[in-house]
Subunit: 205 residues, 2 copies
């Protein structure tokens, strides 16, 4: 059974908090503390954790290590999934840093660019490849998730290459909307459009 999208998102957030919590404080956490630290409703938190089979201890709360492990068993794959980032500009590098900095079951296996100054170099320990090697490296390194962080005009052609190379999920940061087969898990976030949308509704208030 697939969990609802919003539940998966919250489980991901719980874990990220727990990983930090683990190092700094108690072996147990109360659902209301978890809720407070993430600005969520405690009832919601308890419901989510119940759903994955954890009911916690009435007096002590939830065991942080156990909960961590349980969330991992629920949302992670057996092997870490591999990410390929297309575009080694500031955004691509920012994403790479975010992923490298977290204890998660995701690895950035490669980053791609057209800039010869960047190709062959390492960013946060990840090698930058020529974009012409995209298909080859995706297959070689078993990359399942592609992140598109390049100028918009190349979005469609890069997406086709990703698709033809067997990618299963695409995170698109450009302004060009992708219309992909249902079998590809697509998320899109266009920074400028988001800011312009915000500006419009702020103006209309």
């Amino acid at each position: 059974m697939n969990l609802p999208k919003k539940t998966v998102q919250r489980l991901s957030r719980y874990r990220r908090l727990l990983v930090k919590y683990k190092y700094i404080t108690e072996p147990y956490i109360y659902s209301h503390d978890l809720a407070r630290l993430l600005n969520l409703n405690p009832v919601q938190v308890r419901r989510d954790l119940m759903l994955i089979g954890s009911s916690g201890n009435h007096r002590k709360g939830y065991n942080v290590n156990e909960l961590n492990k349980l969330i991992g068993e629920t949302i992670d794959s057996d092997e870490p999934q591999m990410i390929g980032i297309v575009g080694a500009g500031r955004l691509g590098q920012a994403i790479l840093n975010y992923v490298s900095g977290e204890e998660i079951n995701l690895n950035v296996a490669a980053i791609f660019d057209i800039d010869s100054q960047k190709i062959g170099k390492e960013f946060s320990g990840v090698k930058c490849y020529d974009i012409s090697q995209l298909s080859e490296i995706i297959k070689d390194k078993n990359i399942t998730i592609g992140v598109i962080a390049i100028p918009s005009e190349f979005t469609t052609s890069i997406a086709s290459i990703l698709l033809n190379s067997g990618i299963e999920g695409i995170l698109n940061f450009t302004s060009v909307h992708l219309d992909l087969p249902k079998s590809i898990y697509l998320k899109e976030f266009d920074i400028i459009t988001t800011l312009e949308e915000m500006a419009y509704f702020v103006k209309c208030e």
Copy 2:
């Protein structure tokens, strides 16, 4: 009358494409070309443009300059809206670069950090201030939109300061969900959670 959110998003995308188109090719563009370049349905494009009062010329298509102007009159404020970016790390700088690189009615007025190495410096021509000056600078520079690109643990306190300083829109890139008054236009995007959600559904396929 407020336009639907999705329409505003598409208008923003049309304009971004038109601005580039303006310099490179013809003074006119067909709705089906606009649709193709953005991977949208041409009927959708014509409906959106009709909604803002542009029906185009049957033979020549839409006049690029006029359409540009019309989109601006529809979605822009009279004065450029001011953005404040909290966090001058890679993500904050990436966003700053995106905004500076586009011909849009938004300006980044200030960027904020706690790192004394960054404070006082300029990034893409925008001054970096100490985060303790957040409230003061927001008021001084008439900042209406705040972008939160900092470690999650500071999200809630930064959001309170933004709120108390009269900000009207917040774009939150951290893993801590914000629960704000309805009068604040909030958008949230958590990169790690998005990737973990993708990994989960890719695994479940």
